[in-house]
Symmetry: C2
Subunit: 441 residues, 2 copies
């Protein structure tokens, strides 16, 4: 008999089926043995009675997380709806044949069937092989997978070509401190901390490109929103009029993602008690306006009158956007030249740039803007930032060959999921996160 998924069983009441999966919970009631069987589609209750001698003898030795294979009859089970994943509470399986495919060794450090909200993050991460089997944790990665598909879909529909840019670079020119150094045969090289230069090169050939790729950041941060390796959702588009075109495209992309999540991730959001983000027009505030609002409404000022915003400021202005505009997202625009890289297009007022950050529920999830496309202007701006144009020869080659006005963004995939589901740390949204201390599992 061919294996069936648990989610398909309600359509086969009265029939014999074969199921395989993990023992989520094993319970005994008198002489009956109950097993909640878990597969990728859901959880169902199975009953083993002493009459089926062989199955019953096998069941006696079964413990949580054993992998088993069974055949049995699907029975309707009125009133039953008792699981944390996908409800198959309407049926149960009367087991006739039972086989153990795989056993567990020793005591399991985490019980995936338990509520693990109070388990410490490092314990969850140290025992990823088990915490990922918990319904709520598992759901995070179903949402994550949906996000990846939704992003690629939105981009492809709008004529963006998917590219893969190199992660090993010969030089760490764009701010040396953030780069991991590698030994590359008989010389040194560096891990890419963004696909910035390469996606711009992509514009010269394909006009519109996007990349879903690994980003490496050698920053010694210890926060709930930083990791040293993450997956960036990048895009770059040519023939824009100004940087509003870039925000328009990113806004459209986010709405498309939200719409796909609302369709595909109802169970996952419910498990986390998470609300789908509002699908409303994203407000756009100049950074200076935002700082003014923070001072006026929240009494919050930046040290030394600096024109920049810190995480607390982002959280508060995010609250403001939700209250005033009903929006979970907020564009902050026109960041000062001093705190943006050399390739960002200066505003008419040269103190500022045609750039933006996108906040989601008070956390920066994207940075973007228009880029300089004129060769001479770019060379001058490299110099104005105290850098040497000779170090950027290959990057500059693009601008010697005719580059259209263009702009784009870098979006952090894990931060989106963190804020979608209200996770305390970004590390909960990564299968096997990497930070200053953590390189295993």
């Amino acid at each position: 008999m061919k294996r069936m998924l648990i989610s398909e069983t309600p359509e086969h009441i009265g029939e014999s089926v074969r199921l395989s999966g993990w023992v989520h919970i094993r319970r005994d009631h008198g002489k009956l043995i109950f097993i909640d069987l878990r597969d990728r589609s859901g959880i169902v209750q199975a009953i083993i009675v002493p009459d089926h001698t062989e199955a019953y003898e096998t069941a006696k030795g079964i413990r949580n997380e054993f992998v088993i294979d069974m055949e049995g009859k699907v029975k309707s089970r009125p009133g039953g709806a008792n699981n944390d994943k996908i409800s198959t509470g309407g049926v149960e399986i009367e087991v006739e044949r039972l086989k153990i495919l795989s056993v567990t060794e020793g005591t399991l450090p985490i019980d995936p069937s338990a509520d693990i909200d109070d388990v410490k993050l490092h314990t969850l991460l140290d025992n990823r092989q088990l915490s990922l089997r918990n319904g709520k944790v598992n759901a995070i990665f179903r949402v994550y997978s949906t996000l990846l598909r939704a992003y690629a879909k939105a981009m492809t529909q709008d004529g963006f070509l998917e590219i893969k840019s190199p992660k090993i670079l010969n030089a760490a020119t764009e701010g040396g401190a953030n780069f991991f150094k590698i030994k590359y045969f008989d010389r040194s090289a560096y891990l890419a901390q963004s696909p910035q230069f390469y996606k711009q090169a992509g514009v010269g050939a394909f006009e519109r490109v996007f990349e879903i790729g690994t980003v490496f950041r050698a920053e010694p941060h210890f926060t709930t929103r930083h990791v040293n390796e993450y997956t960036g959702l990048d895009a770059e588009m040519g023939f824009i009029e100004n940087f509003s075109d870039v925000m328009d495209e990113l806004e459209k992309t986010m709405m498309s993602i939200f719409s796909d999540l609302r369709k595909d991730c109802v169970t996952e959001f419910a498990l986390h008690g998470a609300e789908f983000p509002a699908e409303v027009s994203i407000p756009r505030l100049k950074l200076t306006e935002a700082l003014h609002i923070l001072e006026k409404n929240y009494g919050k000022t930046m040290a030394d009158g600096e024109i920049d915003i810190d995480p607390e400021g982002e959280r508060l202005i995010g609250e403001y956007a939700k209250k005033e505009y009903g929006s979970d997202l907020l564009f902050l625009t026109h960041y000062p030249t001093a705190i943006r890289p050399f390739y960002v297009m200066p505003n008419e007022d040269p103190q500022f740039t045609d750039s933006f950050d996108l906040l989601f529920r008070g956390l920066e999830i994207a940075s973007g803007g228009q880029r300089i496309h004129n060769y001479e202007q770019l060379v001058k701006n490299i110099q104005a930032h105290g850098l040497n144009p000779d170090d950027f020869k290959h990057y500059l080659d693009n601008f010697r060959c005719g580059m259209p006005p263009h702009g784009g963004w870098g979006l952090g995939s894990e931060r989106i999921v963190q804020k979608l589901l209200g996770l305390k740390s970004i590390k909960e949204a990564i299968l096997f996160p990497r930070d200053v201390k953590r390189l295993v599992p």
Copy 2:
């Protein structure tokens, strides 16, 4: 006026339109200036007559690869079909307004409008910013992008969850020589040369997973089929009966990819004079059978009677599969234990493994098979391979918690495109390839 794509112009004959793009070719005929304008959708001829004084004066200064913006009338152009991309030969544009958005600097080292079949590979790669604008080269990456989407689609439809696994590892246990070493804060780490251990961990939580991710290989190869950084298309699936299930799934995936390519990449294949692969059942030959055929039909033997196959053998047996079975693909199965990693499931005959390679037009594009899922067996096999189980603690943790019978594959995305389009080197199928000598651009 809003910019229109060139591919849309044939539906707007007699109307005024605005177009933007690159000057593919500029030609003068008497007093008329002709420009072949190129954008991401195609190429169209534009004519500038002296009557439109301002546009004409601007056009005089225009050279190949300038970025321009124009308005003009769409006219039908009988008999015209003269471009190497997407045919808009049926129309031409009578230019009324013309603006230069961006100029070129100095002499262009490559002319993207020329036939560059005879340009040397290193010249194409050194000047990627221009070679990518050539119609034929550009088409490679449209095929590549279609492949990525098609793979993700096929996997998602069959219940595989997309994951992202870490690329920075704490140890280079699975064969130290292939790993790049990195400086990770105050210690050493290594770049992942496959997501093998992590996708297996994924099976424990999600049953079926796939990953599209960067793979780093520190192999000092100088061949047409090796690079040091590539994009792997990995998959791993639980609850298999045997390794035929894995081949069945990979076969289904390849056919789904071929079918999508046939739908979406007609122009690109035509440009390369490439044939779509046959959509036929993939023959499966034991490696020993293949070696027997090579000896009998081609007089080819391996040195010292070794049970392995070299690139020439793969090429010849690929020819054989095409001739005998009409198939561009071929599974070779049952590789010897001695040349497969410790995690591969031994065959009933312990000299061999339940593993396979997939050849495409005579080139290995995938390796896969069933994996050992039993903890004790895995520990023993690690030892049998002369390795220390203590070095695999985190990997082994998965097998202490109940792992189903499972298997999977690693597929090289760039090799598929190389063979699809008949490219001489894998490097032609990578935007910015990395080899022992090349780290730029």
